[in-house]
């Protein structure tokens, strides 16, 4: 180390001398490059010049001496002496230089006499310096004088005197720059002698002073002392300080033979301590920070790399050599370093994972270096050839070893590096015998590294370099597989990460798809019999599909399915074919293709066939729907019928009808719905769509107030689909519609079916309705049958038992009635129906007894008492029953009971009056007896009158509008025959004009089914026509929508009254009246008038206002209004 440093710090004589010489030499060298000058002549010229310089100095010495003599007291006398001493020194240098030039070639030492001439000058200078010091102790430049004096001793080799004088400079001028220089020289002196502690003292003293131009040098030298002491961290720190210190070194040490760049030297010196204290990975960053230039950085790296290489730290050295090669443009040097890299890698431990981790970069470095070497004019072709051969082996070695390790370890990242190494290799070594193997290796490495697109391209390249044959086919197939893998991996990634982009760039995606298509096409063409061809074909088709070329994809997948019908992927291919057609929105084609697959007996995959069948069906539907969408409004029906006729009998034809039906349904087009619904039912009676069709048509009919039609559809629905989940409900709707329409026979038919269907509640409801129908129609035998069945089904049902009794009673089967009614009365009512039935049953039983009561008459005198007793007993029984009937609170039957009670009393009075007078009575007694009888009879007459009056009052109070109430109001004591309700007349159905109007109104209603105005219009028309039931249903719908619609309530009241339901009519009229409907008051007046509530008539007539001029024939007025308005009151 020391010898190395000594060379670096080799001393020169001092100051300008050597510099001048160097310059002269350089000037000479420069001239030589342009002129051909003889060397001897050149030297002669130099000697002449030096002699001239000596003469000039001699002249200066003479002049200076003359000046000294002439200036004995001058203040600058010391300066003149100092100048004189300098001239002596200068002269001795020129003399030395001239003597050296005059020396024979190769002679480097001066002989004694010649050396003496040089020494004389130096001695004269020393004497002059001493004179200055002695005679001018206060001279301002004495630090310099002393330093120069010491220096002359140094040059004369008088070391002791030199040391003494340098120490004197330090002692007498400790802060002077010359003292710092002196310290450095002393330090160097000891350092050269190997006395490191002494050297350290002097360097340390420098560092202890304020920062000077020599501090970096002192640090640098101290750094070396630390290295010698093996204190590497300190050494590194000192060097680093020298490098980074802020002060720029403007001048070097005076004693240095040449100016050295301390910072540069310090940086380079750091290599040693760095290797001992830091990690190699830190080196690039560390030195980049410190180095002022790239050149310096590379230089430092070289030192460091060499150091590691010497230390056999191959990982580190390889790392740094790579850095150097990457930055250095020095080809020759790089050749060495590349070799060092390869050797370092080879020398690394076999299990060191870092061994080939940089193989790609290393191969690239080799390739770059070879390329530069090849292009350099400096080298011969032979050298170039040798280097290429050598480096090709090295590059191949690195790449294949890495590849081998990667495959053994299944290390895909290393495979990627190996592939890159191969790429570098192939980029330069294009004509080697191993090129194809390297290409194959690269392709496989790329595949292993999952760089599938690049692998595919590489396989293609290999195939391109081959003759046509199976080998070429193999590589092309590998290429197809690689592209396929690329696309699959990309697709899988996209599936899992839908919000991210794929693994492939757009270019790679395109490349993979096109590559697969083109290579695949060539493969299929050239090796059609290959066992891999099905796979290739499948993937080609898939490419067209993925690229959106659906027409082509359909063609290819369809052909594929039909070529390989038993292939495992037939389902996938088939579905892709179908999906491609779907993408084209060609549903006709889709349906046909799906059906083609279904019909292909060679395709065995049942799941796929099932899917295709479903799709064929769905596509047919969609095709039809699309026809609907694309058909203009005006042509729609025509077009649909035309399409249906085209596909008559087929599923597709059914679809056309159904889709048209649905369209009209959604548009509320009643005519369209009925047209296509009926057509569908006729053409496809077994269609599963008929449930929807029928229920829709029924609903539309209801909406259009075409209730009969609705009922027919509902009945048809039940008839066709009795097992359907809604069948019972639909039939119930039909029955109810029939019932409210007054079509009792068909309603009864429906209810008769219903009472055997559904749950107990539904059955009971059916029974109730049936009983109501027959009761209101006064069809007593039918009622008895129904009630009997109901009672049988539900033995404790009061309603059934009561109606059975009533039916018997009304039908004249008194005995049976007498048996059933008491039984019914005892049962417990469970519904309003039961309660009403109970009241009526009690009343009926009373009537039954009353019938017997009426029949029981006096026959002969002997039995008078017995008959009377029976009569009285019956009277009491009947009275009790009527009282009981009144007690149920059912207005109609309470009033009926009262009226009958009045009639009972009246009857009893008559009975008494007509009682036979016993024959044995005297005429006087006879008269008295008769008188008593009349008196008693009068009592019952009064009671009858009282009861009938009470009945009339109660009826008026309760607003009961029945035949009994009417009788009471009129004081009638005759038996009352209750009227049944009116059944629907068929006359309306036969009136064509009326029916036409209805159709028109219904069409309007289908579009706006909630329109109250339209509904009322229809109801008025129906009322005019006498189609009371239709009016009733229609108006019920209006008031259901809005109970406060006074006009509708009024019309409903009129309708119900006209239907023989005055009680219900009254309620509607009352509501209308509450809503201040002007006609309601008139109708109510008429109703009151009809039922004899005369007190109320005037009031309501007055409310109705003047009716003169009013069209009382309007359906808003009941015909009775005309009567009352005509002065009936």
């Amino acid at each position: 180390v020391r010898s190395c440093r000594l060379a670096a710090l080799g001393s020169w004589p001092r100051r300008l001398g050597p510099v001048a010489v160097v310059l002269l030499v350089c000037a000479g060298a420069e001239a030589a490059s342009f002129r051909k000058v003889d060397k001897a002549q050149e030297r002669e010229e130099l000697i002449i010049k030096l002699s001239s310089d000596i003469n000039k100095v001699d002249h200066s010495v003479q002049v200076t001496k003359e000046l000294i003599k002439g200036s004995p007291d001058a203040p600058y006398l010391a300066d003149l002496y100092f100048r004189l001493a300098e001239l002596y020194v200068e002269r001795s240098r020129y003399v030395y230089a001239r003597l050296m030039e005059q020396q024979p070639e190769g002679e480097t030492l001066l002989a004694g006499d010649k050396a003496l001439e040089v020494q004389i000058g130096k001695r004269l200078a020393i004497e002059t310096y001493t004179k200055v010091l002695n005679e001018f102790p206060e001279y301002k430049n004495n630090d310099q004088v002393r330093f120069f004096k010491a220096h002359e001793f140094r040059e004369l080799g008088e070391w002791d005197q030199m040391m003494k004088d340098y120490r004197e400079v330090i002692e007498k001028h400790p802060r002077s720059d010359w003292a710092i220089e002196a310290r450095l020289i002393l330090g160097d002196y000891y350092f050269d002698k190997g006395d490191l502690p002494q050297a350290e003292v002097h360097y340390g003293e420098i560092i202890g002073l304020a920062e000077s131009h020599l501090h970096d040098m002192a640090r640098y030298k101290l750094g070396w002392i630390r290295i010698n002491q093996e204190k590497f961290p300190e050494a590194l720190k000192l060097f680093e300080s020298a490098v980074v210190s802020g002060r720029k070194q403007k001048r070097g040490a005076i004693g240095d033979a040449r100016k050295i760049n301390v910072k540069r030297e310090a940086l380079l010196a750091m290599a040693w301590p760095f290797t001992e204290t830091k990690k190699v990975q830190q080196a690039p960053e560390y030195f980049k920070d410190l180095a002022e230039s790239k050149t310096l950085y590379v230089e430092a790296m070289k030192r460091l790399a060499n150091r590691y290489y010497v230390k056999t730290d191959y990982v580190a050295s390889a790392l740094l050599y790579r850095e150097i090669v990457a930055l250095s443009a020095d080809v020759e040097q790089n050749v060495d370093y590349v070799q060092r890299i390869h050797e370092s890698v080879r020398n690394m431990g076999q299990r060191d994972p870092r061994r080939y981790s940089n193989a790609a970069g290393d191969v690239t470095a080799i390739v770059d270096t070879v390329a530069r070497f090849q292009n350099s004019w400096k080298f011969k072709d032979e050298e170039k050839g040798q280097l290429k051969t050598n480096f090709e082996q090295r590059a191949r070695d690195l790449a294949t070893r890495l590849d081998r390790d990667a495959r053994q370890n299944k290390d895909f990242d290393s495979s990627r590096v190996a592939a890159e190494a191969y790429r570098s290799y192939l980029s330069l070594f294009s004509d080697t015998k191993d090129r194809q193997s390297m290409q194959v290796n690269r392709a496989e490495s790329l595949y292993l590294a999952k760089s599938y697109v690049d692998a595919g391209e590489q396989y293609e390249d290999i195939a391109r370099g081959m003759q046509e044959g199976s080998e070429q086919g193999k590589f092309l197939y590998d290429s197809v597989i690689a592209y396929h893998e690329a696309l699959e991996a990309d697709a899988t990634f996209k599936d899992k990460n839908p919000t991210k982009g794929g693994l492939l760039t757009m270019w790679e995606l395109l490349r993979a798809r096109e590559g697969l298509k083109q290579v695949g096409a060539y493969y299929v063409k050239t090796w059609p019999k290959s066992d891999k061809v099905a796979n290739v074909k499948f993937n080609i088709a898939k490419m067209y599909y993925q690229e959106g070329d659906y027409d082509r994809a359909v063609e290819l997948f369809t052909t594929w399915v039909e070529t390989y019908p038993t292939h495992n992927d037939v389902g996938v291919a088939g579905n892709l074919a179908l999906d491609a057609v779907h993408q084209l929105d060609d549903f006709d084609r889709l349906a046909k293709l799906a059906q083609r697959f279904v019909d292909n007996p060679k395709i065995k995959n049942p799941r796929f066939k099932g899917e295709a069948a479903d799709l064929a069906k769905a596509a047919t539907t969609r095709k039809v729907e699309m026809t609907v969408v694309t058909t203009t409004e005006g042509d729609f029906s025509e077009r649909m019928v035309a399409e249906w006729e085209k596909h008559k009998g087929s599923k597709e034809g059914e679809e056309y009808l159904f889709v048209a039906f649905v369209k009209f349904k959604n548009e509320n087009n009643i005519a369209g719905v009925f047209e296509f619904g009926n057509r569908l039912m006729g053409a496809y009676p077994a269609s599963t769509k008929i449930t929807d069709v029928l229920s829709t048509m029924g609903t539309f009919a209801v909406r259009g107030v075409d209730y009969e039609r609705a009922a027919s559809y509902f009945e048809e629905f039940y008839k066709r689909f009795p097992k359907h989940g809604t069948a019972v409900q639909v039939l119930a709707s039909a029955a109810n519609i029939r019932f409210v329409l007054g079509d009792v026979s068909r309603a009864a038919e429906d209810f008769r079916q219903l009472r055997m269907l559904g749950d107990q509640s539904q059955q009971r409801q059916a029974h109730e309705r049936l009983m109501e129908i027959y009761r209101d129609a006064q069809a007593w035998e039918d009622l008895a049958r129904v009630a009997q069945t109901a009672a049988k089904d539900q033995p404790n049902w009061l309603g059934a038992a009561a109606h059975l009794g009533i039916a018997y009673a009304e039908g004249g089967k008194d005995e049976l009635a007498a048996r059933e009614l008491p039984r019914a009365i005892k049962l417990t009512p469970r519904s309003d129906f039961d309660k009403v039935a109970q009241a009526r049953a009690v009343f009926t039983l009373g009537r039954l007894h009353q019938k017997r009561f009426d029949e029981l008459q006096f026959k002969e005198a002997a039995t008078v008492e017995e008959v009377l007793g029976n009569k009285i007993q019956l009277l009491q029984t009947i009275e009790q029953l009527y009282v009981q009937a009144i007690g149920f609170g059912q207005g109609e039957w309470a009033i009926a009971a009262l009226q009958e009670a009045a009639r009972l009393y009246k009857g009893f009075a008559s009975f008494i009056e007509t009682a036979p007078i016993p024959a044995e009575l005297s005429p006087q007694d006879r008269a008295s007896y008769q008188g008593q009888l009349q008196q008693q009879a009068q009592g019952y007459v009064a009671k009858a009158q009282e009861t009938i009056t009470a009945c009339a009052e109660k009826a008026e109070q309760l607003k009961v509008f029945t035949a009994h109430a009417q009788a009471c109001a009129q004081g009638g004591l005759e038996p009352v025959v209750p009227l049944g309700t009116r059944q629907r007349s068929a006359a309306a159905a036969d009136d064509e004009a009326y029916q036409k109007e209805l159709v028109q109104l219904r069409n309007e209603l289908a579009r706006t089914p909630e329109s109250a105005d339209l509904l009322k219009k229809l109801a008025r028309r129906a009322l005019q026509q006498g189609d009371l039931h239709l009016a009733k249903v229609t108006l019920s719908k209006v008031v259901e929508q809005n109970v406060r619609d006074g006009a509708a309530q009024n019309l409903l009241g009129v309708t119900l009254w006209s239907l023989g339901m005055p009680q219900e009519g009254f309620m509607a009229l009352e509501r209308a009246h509450k809503e201040r409907n002007p006609t309601a008051a008139a109708n109510l007046a008429a109703l009151y008038y009809t039922y004899g509530y005369t007190r109320l008539v005037a009031r309501y007539l007055s409310e109705a206002g003047t009716l003169s001029g009013v069209d009382l024939s309007s359906p808003d007025f009941h015909p009775a209004v005309r009567q009352v308005a005509g002065g009936g009151t």
Binding site: Y522, K525, P528, K529, V536, K537, L556
Partner: protein
Amino acid sequence: MRILAISIALSGCGGMSYTIDRDLLRDITIENKLLLFDAENDVSIAIDEREQIQRQIRDLRTDIRDAHAQVREADGDRERAQAKNESARSTLAERARAVFELKITFLLAQIDLLREKLVVQDRVVLVAETKFELAKAKLVKRNNVYGAADVDLTDFEAQVDDAVESARGARQDFAEDEKALVAVKGEWQKAREQLAKDSGGGVGSPWAEDSAAWGNW
């Protein structure tokens, strides 16, 4: 003075004689301008349809280039087969050439048909444009903007009528042409199918349609 309605006789150029300067619509509220959107949209649709036809023609030209490459590949195959004395393969290559010639015929026929359609579509575009101008003219009139007095609606209406008449005249029944095209296509596909069958699923098969892209290197 602003130019309101430009009345330039452009007969023979296929352009419009009457147009409304956009500046005239500047002062009309956006609500009123909305009325123009449908007409403008119709113009865009017509132009789109025309561009679609043009795109199809461009694609077909590419297909023709590819088909020519297939012909060249077939020639190369034949030469190689002959050099190796493989007569069966040589025959297949010759047939492949014929098949691709048929394909080219089909593609050219397709282009001819599309060109005819393009002529009609140009007229349709003109109809849409004249209707758009008419809509603008009506709007200008309705809003009575400055200069509206110079706009005579009857000119614009007549212009629409002329364009419609012209389009109607150009309209042809393409059914016959399309039928002929299907026949040409059928001829090509039939030959191709037979070739594919005879080559064992290689040459002539639909999968090998693009083989020239790789095989012609």
